[in-house]
C-alpha cells in the first residue's frame, strides 16, 4: 500500500484485507493467510496498553474462556490449546485475567514494563478456600 492522501482517495474506498483473492477463508489459519497492509492484522494497538496480561502455562487448563471473551482477538489458540498472547493486538483490558477460572490464575495483569520471567518466578501460590464460619 502506497501512502495515499485524501485527494487521491475515491468517494468510496475499497479495502482488500488480502493480497490475493481469498478462497476458503474459514479453513485457513491466520498464520497461513496472505494479509495485505490494509488489514488491521498488520497494524498494532500495543501502545494503548498500561497493564499487560502475563500467561503461565503451568497452571493453565486450556478452558478457552480467555479466547472466547477476548474483544481483540489477541489470545493465540491452536488445536484446542492456549498458546499465549498476541501482544501486537492486546489492549490490556484485563477481561482474560478476570474470566480465568484456575487457582492461582494463569493470566495475571502486570505493569507494562514488567519482565515476563521475573513475573513467572514470583507467581502467586494457590489460595486456600476460606472456610465458612
Amino acid at each position: 500500500m502506497a501512502n495515499v492522501g485524501w485527494d487521491e482517495v475515491n468517494d468510496a474506498a475499497l479495502l482488500n484485507p488480502f493480497e490475493n483473492s481469498m478462497q476458503d477463508l474459514v479453513n485457513t489459519a491466520q498464520s497461513d493467510r496472505d494479509y495485505s497492509l490494509f488489514s488491521s492484522f498488520s497494524a498494532s494497538t500495543a501502545s494503548w496498553r498500561v497493564v499487560k496480561p502475563i500467561y503461565n502455562s503451568d497452571v493453565c487448563i486450556h478452558c478457552q474462556n480467555c479466547w472466547v471473551y477476548c474483544p481483540d482477538s489477541a489470545i493465540l489458540s491452536e488445536e484446542k490449546k492456549m498458546q499465549g498472547i498476541d501482544y501486537d493486538h492486546c489492549k490490556g483490558c484485563g477481561i482474560c485475567a478476570d474470566v480465568c477460572p484456575t487457582n492461582p490464575k494463569s493470566l495475571i495483569m502486570y505493569e507494562e514494563a514488567t519482565v515476563e520471567d521475573s513475573a513467572l518466578a514470583s507467581w502467586p501460590e494457590k489460595k486456600k478456600k476460606e472456610k465458612k464460619a
Binding site: 500500500m1 495515499v4 482517495v9 474506498a13 479495502l15 484485507p17 488480502f18 481469498m22 478462497q23 477463508l25 474459514v26 479453513n27 485457513t28 489459519a29 491466520q30 493467510r33 497492509l37 490494509f38 488489514s39 488491521s40 492484522f41 498488520s42 497494524a43 498494532s44 494497538t45 494503548w48 486450556h62 478452558c63 478457552q64 474462556n65 479466547w67 472466547v68 471473551y69 477476548c70 474483544p71 481483540d72 482477538s73 489477541a74 489458540s77 488445536e79 484446542k80 498476541d86 501486537d88 493486538h89 492486546c90 489492549k91 490490556g92 483490558c93 484485563g94 477481561i95 485475567a97 478476570d98 474470566v99 495483569m109
Partner: protein, 316 residues
C-alpha cells in the same frame, strides 16, 4: 453448513474472521459479540454495517478489521442494504449467474442501538415487513457511545448521559427503554431473540438459528459499554453476568410467535446490584432517589412474570 459447536474447546479451533487492532475501547463488548457472530458459522458472510462504534472503529482508513465482505453506506440504511444484497443474490442464483464461490452466502446487518431503535427504525421496519432473507444484529449499549454518550430510545430510566445529565434537579433519563424485541415480533418476523456476551453458548445457538432461518430475523445483543456505563474495562463480563442474572436483560427467543426462555437464573440478583456496579446510575443511590430503583425492580419482576406467562401460553 452451520457448524456444530459442542464446547468451547471445539469453538476455539475456529479461524478468526474479525481481526484485532480495531480501535474499539479496551474491554468493549461489541467485538466479543461480533467475533462470536462471524466465527460461529462456515457460511460466507456479507455484512452491512450501520454507522456506530462498530463501523467507525473497525474501518478507519487505511485499515479494515473485517475478513468478510463488508459495506457501510449511511447511518439509517443497514437493513435496506442488507435486504438489497439478499435480493441480488436470490436473482443471480435464479438466473444461474451466481459465482460458485458465492454460494452459501448469508447476509447480515449490524447496527448499534441508535441505528436500530431510532435512526434506522423505519428502514428496519420496512425491510422486515418486505421479508428479505437477512439477519439483523443490534449491538445494544443503551447510548450513542460513538458521538459522546447522548441518550437514545434504548436508554433506561435514571441513566445519566450527556443529554440527560443527573444533577440536583434531574434524575437522568426520564423515559423507559423501548421494547424493540416486542416490536420486531409484532412485525411477524420468524425469529427474534435477545442475547448477552457472557452466555456464549446461548449466543452462538441463537446466531446460528437466526442465520439458518429463511426470512428476516432480529437479534438484540446486550453490549456493556465501559466508557458510557462507567465501569473498569476488565468488568465487562461481570456486568453482563449481573445484567442477565438480575433479569435486566432476560435471555429469550420468539420463534414464529412461540416464546422460549433460554436462561433462568438459579439465584435472581436484585436489580440494585446491577445498577451499583455502573457509574451512570451512581446518583440513584443518593437519598431521595430510592423510588426509582424500587420502581425498576417492580418493572423487572412484572416483565419476568409476563414472559413466563407468554411462554406458557404460546407453548400450550
Amino acid at each position: 453448513m452451520s457448524k456444530i459447536i459442542k464446547n468451547l474447546k471445539q469453538f476455539s479451533t475456529a479461524n478468526e474472521r474479525l481481526e484485532g487492532a480495531h480501535l474499539l475501547c479496551p474491554g468493549c463488548a461489541h467485538s466479543i459479540i461480533v467475533r462470536e457472530l462471524v466465527n460461529c458459522t462456515d457460511h460466507n458472510l456479507v455484512i452491512a454495517n450501520a454507522t456506530g462504534c462498530m463501523e467507525v472503529c473497525t474501518a478507519v482508513y487505511p485499515y479494515t478489521a473485517w475478513d468478510t465482505s463488508w459495506i457501510h453506506i449511511g447511518f439509517e440504511n443497514a437493513a435496506t442494504s442488507a435486504g438489497a444484497i439478499a435480493e441480488t443474490y436470490k436473482v443471480l442464483e435464479r438466473k444461474g449467474r451466481l459465482n460458485k464461490n458465492a454460494e452459501n452466502t448469508k447476509v447480515l446487518a449490524i447496527g448499534g442501538d441508535g441505528a436500530t431503535y431510532d435512526i434506522g427504525f423505519q428502514f428496519l421496519s420496512g425491510a422486515v415487513e418486505r421479508g428479505h432473507d437477512f439477519t439483523y444484529v443490534c449491538l445494544d449499549n443503551e447510548v450513542y457511545a460513538n458521538t459522546g454518550g447522548q441518550r437514545s430510545s434504548s436508554t433506561p430510566v435514571g441513566a445519566s448521559t450527556t443529554t440527560t445529565p443527573a444533577g440536583s434537579q434531574s434524575i437522568g433519563n426520564k423515559t423507559t427503554k423501548k421494547d424493540m424485541i416486542g416490536i420486531m415480533a409484532a412485525h411477524g418476523a420468524p425469529y427474534v431473540a435477545q442475547v448477552a456476551p457472557n452466555k456464549w453458548k446461548d449466543m452462538i445457538m441463537k446466531f446460528q438459528k437466526a442465520l439458518e432461518i429463511n426470512g428476516p430475523t432480529f437479534v438484540n445483543a446486550m453490549s456493556a459499554c465501559t466508557t458510557e456505563w462507567r465501569f473498569p474495562s476488565h468488568q465487562t463480563i461481570t456486568v453482563s453476568d449481573l445484567a442477565t442474572d438480575s433479569l435486566a436483560f432476560p435471555l429469550y427467543e420468539i420463534e414464529n410467535g412461540v416464546y422460549t426462555i433460554n436462561y433462568r437464573p438459579k439465584n435472581i440478583v436484585p436489580i440494585k446490584d446491577y445498577l451499583a456496579i455502573q457509574g451512570r446510575f451512581k446518583h440513584l443511590f443518593k437519598p431521595g432517589n430510592e423510588h426509582i430503583i424500587e420502581e425498576w425492580q417492580k418493572r423487572v419482576d412484572k416483565k419476568w412474570v409476563q414472559l413466563q406467562k407468554m411462554e406458557e401460553m404460546t407453548n400450550s
